[in-house]
Amino acid sequence: MRSTLRTRTPNTRRARRTRGAAAKIVASAAVGALALGLSACGGDDKDKDDDKAGGGGKESAATVQLPKLDGEKVSVAAVWGGAERKVFLKVLDEFEKRTGAEVSFVPAQDPIISFLESKAAGGQPPDVAMLPQVGAIEQAVQNKWAKPVGPEAQKQLTKNYAQGWQDLGAVDGKQYGVYFKAANKSLIWYNTEVFTNAGVKEPKTWKEFMKTAQTVYDSGVTPMSVGGAEAWTLTDWFENIYLSQAGPEKYDQLAQHKIKWTDPSVKDALTTLGELFGKKGFIAGGADGALQTEFPASVKQTFTGGDQPKAGMVFEGDMVSLSIAETKAEVGKDAKVFPFPAVGDESPAVVGGDAAVALKNSKGAQALLTFLATPDAAKIWAEAGGFVSPNKALDLKAYPNDVQRGIADALIKAGDDIRFDMSDQAPQSFGGTPGKGEWKALQDFLKNPKNVAGTQQTLEDAAAKAYKKS
């Protein structure tokens, strides 16, 4: 069944991907998801908010005062299902406990913007929606649904978030989104047994990375697994290299198509990528095989087969761990992770994330945004696992294992230099359609990595067409 679902993903993929593969796996099962946790009722007043919410011990004590909202109703729409939804409900429970408000979870479908469209048309938008992309927030603002964050929430944001993360939730200088869940897409996962057998360590720079790959190859294992059947993995490869090599400013310009794809910086990035893709024997199954490997398969083939897996390393975001969970390998023991090697001065930090956006100007909605911006809320999910918080005030000890901690640490350390997935920012016909635009161009590039100039030209032609239309 999984392959069916996968083939159907193209249209919904943008939203899903940023959310991580958990939803992919879970989505099929979560069709009959019932939500809702209802409780108290009654009016309230703002003057009550001076009493300390929560109380209790020092460590887990509330870091923020939330207004008393007895009887207030707050609805939250998100596409999370299964395990993710369960944990998120726990976060909401805590909010209920502290404020006395009544929170209901509205299960939404992908793409969430279309879902909200129908809700808004019906006159009943949820108070808060968890939006998985920068583009979705912009759209919500354009449609005049989104309400700016209030002063309380803004205070928490300023205190707990790097400027970069705040900016991702802002449109035209106004803050709308509070990023609650982040995805780090600048990670390379490796099979520890392969690395031990080859006698190599985690590389820090691209040069070291290539040397590591060579040694792994010498040891008799193909170094890299690439899930090229789904071209978004290829766009992520390019984006990481480009961000690290050309820097964040150029990255932004290219994302908005202010510089052309024929720019020399693109040439450098493609050449670098070609070093890896073009090396004989470095890609599992060769280019043809990689082009038929779906993303989950690319992960699985790296972590099955004992000390002779089909590949030693695989690149992608933290959702890789969910595919690893389907193998016998154990994250942290058999599967470990290192940050994407620095091609230029710094390692890149390409990220994704889910931002909470208020769609109603209710007190409950604002209070929930405030709560989600605190480390208290992040801690609940962090402890449950499968979660990385962009909240820098969150104690790294909250994460259940070293791998998660490392991913979160890299994300926080990247500070303001984080960038949202470029292809997710591009018009869909360029950055998100199978067999078209960037996807097609990079798949062809994987087949023929020497053709840098031709690839650039194809990319530019497609981009010019797509950006003109939108």
């Binding site: 008799g220 294992v221 095989g289 082009l291 038929q292 016909s429």
Partner: protein, 460 residues
């Protein structure tokens, strides 16, 4: 929503309208009352529900699609722009081309196969059981069949049945070598000689043991009799040396270009001594990797011929861009051959035996009977099958949507899939409607043919 409607309408009208024409044709003479004496008003009353449904579910969507095709994405009038896009867009052009391939290949092959099955099953004892098996794939939904064939065509011979068979056949004739992926490591005394062979940079001397280190042979593919590599003893009358895997597990290369005890020799690897392009001597290494060549090799360069490193054969790239459409057509035939067979078998049952007997008595052999008697008598049935399949093939969607991996999706594209992509991927209802209209126009000739044939049938 234009898609299914337009696709559906294409097939519905002939079925819906034929009973009409056949009825009104011969009897239309009576002006007010029909033979049964019903008034026209009553007739209209009874027809009304059907007409309303037909109008609402068939005619209106067709009209709307045609209208919508003249407006752009946002709903502004765009004239023929959508049609222009349609014929200038590469993706859609491939779709048209592929649809043509489908239209020619799939019905013809399916019918031919169905005919063969029908004729053969008539003659075997367990014909019904055989028919049942052939017909079974029809019961599976297209989507499920797509998933099945996605797995069948998987390129890895360990997973895809098609390649497993292919590789099995191939390997009985050409075996792969023992040292796939072997290659010189960094700072090796060997260099590439082109074509996958490796050669020493310097000529070798008798009496000075040579090292021929390679890396990269997967440990699980090393020959079982490999022993730990030993340095070769010097022998002034011979060129001696060691051929081994210069890689220590867990330690990288170990001692560079020198055999460590934990490293393994390459038993049976072929080594040639080359002088001025001529092979003067050749040998194979022992289990510990040592080898010796006669004196003639003195001053020659040693070479590992490429045959040592031949990669295991991995079969055909079924899902690659060049074979994807034939591969999908193959899965379609698997599904529909049973359908063709059942219809043709039914037609075959009504062929008068006397004619076949007469032909045999006249001295025709079996092939002539089949070719000159059976097939012509079956022609009307064959036409029905071909035309039904043609209509079916024109709106083919599921298989093409499911089977190709992302990287060859555009090479496999057909109109119905493109329509879906335009409508729900690009959210461009204008172009999607234009494609729907094109599909509709393409179906019309087949439809007309079908109607005429049926009318003829009714007259007989």
């Amino acid at each position: 929503m234009t898609t299914p409607d337009a696709g559906g309408t294409a097939a519905v009208p002939p079925a819906e309208s034929t009973p009409h024409t056949s009825k009104t044709g011969p009897r239309g003479a009576g002006p007010r009352r029909s033979v049964t004496g019903t008034r026209r008003a009553v007739a209209v009353l009874f027809l009304l529900p059907a007409l309303v449904l037909l109008g609402a579910l068939v005619l209106y969507p067709i009209g709307y699609s045609v209208g919508r095709s003249f407006f752009d994405k946002a709903g502004d009038f765009a004239g023929l722009d959508n049609y222009e896009t349609m014929f200038s867009d590469d993706g859609i052009r491939t779709a048209v081309k592929n649809n043509a391939i489908w239209l020619v290949a799939a019905p013809a092959l399916t019918t031919a196969l169905g005919l063969i099955f029908a004729v053969l099953t008539e003659r075997v004892r367990w014909g019904t059981a055989f028919k049942l098996i052939i017909f079974m794939p029809m019961v599976i939904s297209m989507l499920a069949a797509g998933i099945i064939f996605r797995l069948v065509y998987e390129s890895d011979p360990d997973r895809g049945v098609a390649n497993a068979l292919w590789v099995g056949v191939h390997d009985t004739f050409a075996e792969s070598s023992n040292f796939p992926r072997g290659h010189p490591g960094a700072r090796s005394p060997l260099e590439s000689a082109g074509g996958g062979a490796f050669v020493t940079k310097e000529p070798v001397r008798a009496g000075e043991p040579v090292v021929l280190p390679l890396t990269g042979v997967p440990p699980d593919q090393m020959p079982d009799d490999a022993k730990s590599a030993k340095p070769a003893a010097a022998d002034p009358g011979k060129v001696t040396g060691t051929a081994w895997q210069d890689f220590t597990r867990g330690k990288g290369r170990g001692k560079l270009n020198a055999p460590d005890a934990v490293e393994f020799g390459y038993p049976g690897i072929k080594i040639e001594a080359v002088k001025g392009g001529e092979v003067v001597a050749s040998t194979k290494a022992a289990a510990d990797g040592t080898f010796s060549l006669p004196k003639e090799a003195d001053g020659a360069q040693l070479r590992y011929p490429a045959s040592n490193f031949r990669e295991p054969y991995n079969g055909v790239d079924w899902l690659g861009p060049s074979l994807i459409t034939p591969a999908i057509i193959g899965s379609y035939i698997w599904m529909w051959a049973g359908f063709a067979m059942v219809l043709i078998a039914a037609g075959l049952a009504s062929v008068p035996r006397e004619l076949l007997e007469a032909a045999r008595v006249d001295g025709a052999n079996e092939w002539q009977v089949f070719r000159r008697v059976t097939v012509p008598l079956l022609a009307p049935v064959l036409a029905v099958v071909v035309v039904t399949l043609m209509i079916n093939v024109m709106k083919i969607f599921d298989l093409v949507f499911v089977i190709p991996p992302g990287s060859s999706k555009d090479e496999a594209n057909v109109l119905a899939v493109q329509l879906y992509n335009s409508a729900f991927g690009d959210r461009d209802a204008g172009v999607a409607s234009a494609i729907a209209v094109l599909l509709f126009l393409l179906v019309i000739p087949v439809m007309l043919f079908n109607m005429r044939r049926m009318r003829r049938e009714a007259r007989r």
